[in-house]
Amino acid sequence: MIIDIVTGVLLLVGALFFLAGTLGLLRFPDVYTRLHALTKADNVGLGLIVIALMLQADSWFVVGKLLLIWILILLAGSGVAHLVASTAQKRGLKPWKK
């Protein structure tokens, strides 16, 4: 029962991070800040959802697979974020200033 409640809360907070990431992608002024928003959804949002589902998993195999998916997304997300940001800088995109 308690596990179900914890799962529910984690899922909801995770979904909230996805919402925040999406809104950030829409509202932030330039590539660099949007990257920041995107990685929140990638890392934290998915992470929370994965942890929630791990609590409900019925075998260690499923737990492992979920963890692998998250690690892959973490790796890919951070790698790609770096690539995009450094390429943007090389191409001369100026970071937004107030």
Partner: protein, 88 residues
């Protein structure tokens, strides 16, 4: 519990729809591509929720493959398609 999973999956699909605006708007190619990246992650989360709700193991494999393939498109974009002429 299943209702929660399904409503969250639907919710994620809706955030995806909203995020589509960035693909339309740009302005730089990178912005469009970032939106597509977010699409990939959202789809992974959606698949994991569906896998739990519908009790279908295979959907986790689909999510795994999604997670892998997202990198390939992103790298293809950075290394090949992002050319200076497109930046405004």
């Amino acid at each position: 519990m299943d209702t929660l999973y399904l409503s969250l999956a639907l919710f994620l699909l809706l955030t995806l729809l909203v995020g589509m605006w960035r693909i339309f708007q740009g302005p730089t190619p990178a912005d469009r591509m970032l939106a597509a990246q977010l699409f990939g992650t959202t789809a992974v989360a959606c698949l994991l929720l569906l896998a739990q709700a519908l009790e279908e193991q295979a959907l986790r494999d689909v999510a795994l493959v999604f997670a892998l393939l997202a990198v390939v498109t992103a790298v293809a974009f950075v290394k090949r398609a992002w050319t200076a002429k497109d930046d405004h």
